[in-house]
């Protein structure tokens, strides 16, 4: 059932989603293997964000299957149990404004995992150190820069000890000079073996970090393959055209 005997962590099968009569996702299928970083690219409005939201059921799909370690999450009753296992990092951060960075990371641990304050604080601090925010723990979201906010968002997802983290354009709301600090954290995560599914326009990240790139347009997967193949030798002309335009916009991203 799997190539190379690697464990498939997430399998999306024939996923369909319509908003009113507009088709947003049409028979989308792909696998994410354990420890793999997969990047989804494509023009805006092609259902990339909807796809991520379907995976942890923040949006209810209309058809198809989403298997998390073989369990179809579209049929699961207690979604909160599933969501704990899937981290989510948002484009607009989604930080809780009334809580400090530390409390933002702690709250999932205390409210959802039922840890006591002391245990939660220990884990939260550990994760904030990991994303390089040891000096900002006492600050509130409004006192942080965009890059710092997003790193809190990543720490918050990490604290739940998820099996996979979904990133929805994590750097799109950031000033150019702040993008690097977030991508750096994500790179480290990928290297450490975290399974990641990333929607992004950052070609440098896609090229150097991802194991596989999915190119989506108008709700369907146009092409998927490893970065080398996709960048150097795309099978579909449309892929080539899109990548060319992106590289023109965002540069090769050698970093």
């Amino acid at each position: 059932m799997t190539d190379n005997n690697e464990v498939v962590l997430l399998r999306v099968k024939n996923l369909r989603k319509n908003f009113n009569k507009k088709v947003v996702l049409k028979d989308v299928s792909f696998d994410v293997k354990e420890g793999e970083t997969k990047v989804i690219i494509g023009p805006s409005g092609t259902g990339k964000s909807t796809l991520l939201s379907c995976i942890n059921m923040l949006v209810q799909p209309d058809g198809g299957e989403i298997l998390l370690r073989g369990v179809d999450v579209t049929r699961v009753k207690d979604l909160n149990k599933i969501r704990q296992r899937i981290g989510f990092v948002f484009q607009d951060f989604g930080l809780f404004n009334h809580l400090t960075a530390l409390r933002n990371v702690m709250i999932g641990l205390t409210k959802v995992k039922g840890l006591n304050k002391k245990e939660a604080e220990k884990i939260a601090k550990e994760k904030l150190v990991r994303v390089g925010l040891e000096d900002q723990m006492k600050k509130y979201p409004a006192q942080l820069s965009g890059g710092q906010k997003q790193r809190v968002g990543i720490a918050r997802a990490l604290a739940m000890d998820p099996e996979i983290i979904l990133f929805d354009e994590p750097t799109s709301a950031l000033d150019p000079e702040l993008i690097g600090e977030v991508l750096g954290v994500m790179k480290d995560l990928a290297k450490s073996g975290m399974t990641m599914l990333v929607v992004t326009h950052e070609m440098g990240f896609a090229r150097t970090v991802s194991h596989e790139i999915i190119f989506m347009e108008k709700g369907v997967i146009v092409e998927q393959g490893n970065p080398e193949q996709l960048f150097k030798n795309p099978k579909v002309p449309r892929t080539k055209e899109f990548l060319f335009r992106l590289t023109e916009l965002y540069g090769e991203g050698e970093e």
């Binding site: 923040l58 704990q84 999932g108």
Partner: protein, 244 residues
């Protein structure tokens, strides 16, 4: 020179008039202070009770209206619109004069409290609804993505922020109601305005008595405004201060 003298004399006489006038105010107050302070006590009691109970009810109404299922949020909407759409005076009349035929006899104080509470609950619910809806929805999404239940997300993410945001309009509601309790004189609850009317109907000094009462309201309102301002400042989320 002549003109200056005239002006000076009229100025002096005005000052004298004013002194006499304030002396009269002080005289009235020192004669009736006990009754007036008692009235003020009742006013405060009614305000605090109505606002406090109205707050608890208001939170539930707002939560149902914003997050509740369709039939319930509709019922709440209808309730709020009826309360906000009819004069408080009429509501008090119904409670005090309209219920006895059905065997419900309320004391003036109870009728007033119930009227003010229901009224305040409706208004506070609307203020709170606005506060809830002004919080970016992505925080709710983020909470759910962590695996928090809907109720957990509302209680630990949305509510604490909504309560902070509602303080300014809540302060408004409080001082508004504090003065609005004067309507209780209609049913004869012994609050400040009722006492003032009672005193004035005996000494016929309506203007002066009402002026004294107005000053008493003003002092109390200023005190509470100052206090709630402090609370607001204390609970403000760092980094979200208004830029001057």
């Amino acid at each position: 020179m002549e003109l200056f003298n005239d002006l000076f004399r009229s100025f002096i006489s005005k000052i004298q008039e004013l002194t006499v006038f304030s002396q009269e105010l002080i005289n009235i107050f020192s004669k009736h202070w006990k009754v007036l302070i008692e009235g003020l006590g009742v006013t405060l009691q009614m305000t605090l009770l109505a606002v406090a109970i109205g707050f608890v009810i208001g939170i539930f109404l707002a939560l149902i209206k914003v997050y509740g299922p369709e039939p319930f949020s509709f019922i709440v909407m209808v309730f709020i619109e009826i309360i906000r759409g009819t004069p408080l005076l009429v509501q008090l009349f119904i409670l005090y004069f309209g219920l006895p035929p059905y065997g419900i006899n309320l004391t003036p104080f109870t009728a007033a409290i119930i009227g003010f509470t229901i009224n305040s609950a409706a208004y506070q619910a609307e203020y709170l609804r606005g506060s809830f809806q002004s919080i970016e929805s992505n925080q709710m999404t983020a909470a759910r993505s962590l695996g928090m239940t809907r109720i957990q997300s509302i209680i630990s993410i949305m509510l604490p922020q909504a309560l902070r945001k509602v303080i300014p309009s809540w302060t408004n509601e409080f001082i508004y109601l504090l003065k609005y309790t004067s309507l209780a004189y209609i049913v004869g609850a012994p609050e400040l305005m009722t006492q003032a009317k009672f005193i004035a109907s005996r000494n016929f000094q309506f203007f002066k008595v009402y002026l004294i009462v107005a000053l008493m309201y003003l002092v109390i309102v200023l005190l509470f405004t100052w206090f709630f301002g402090k609370v607001e400042k204390k609970l403000r989320i760092p980094g979200l201060e208004t830029v001057r």
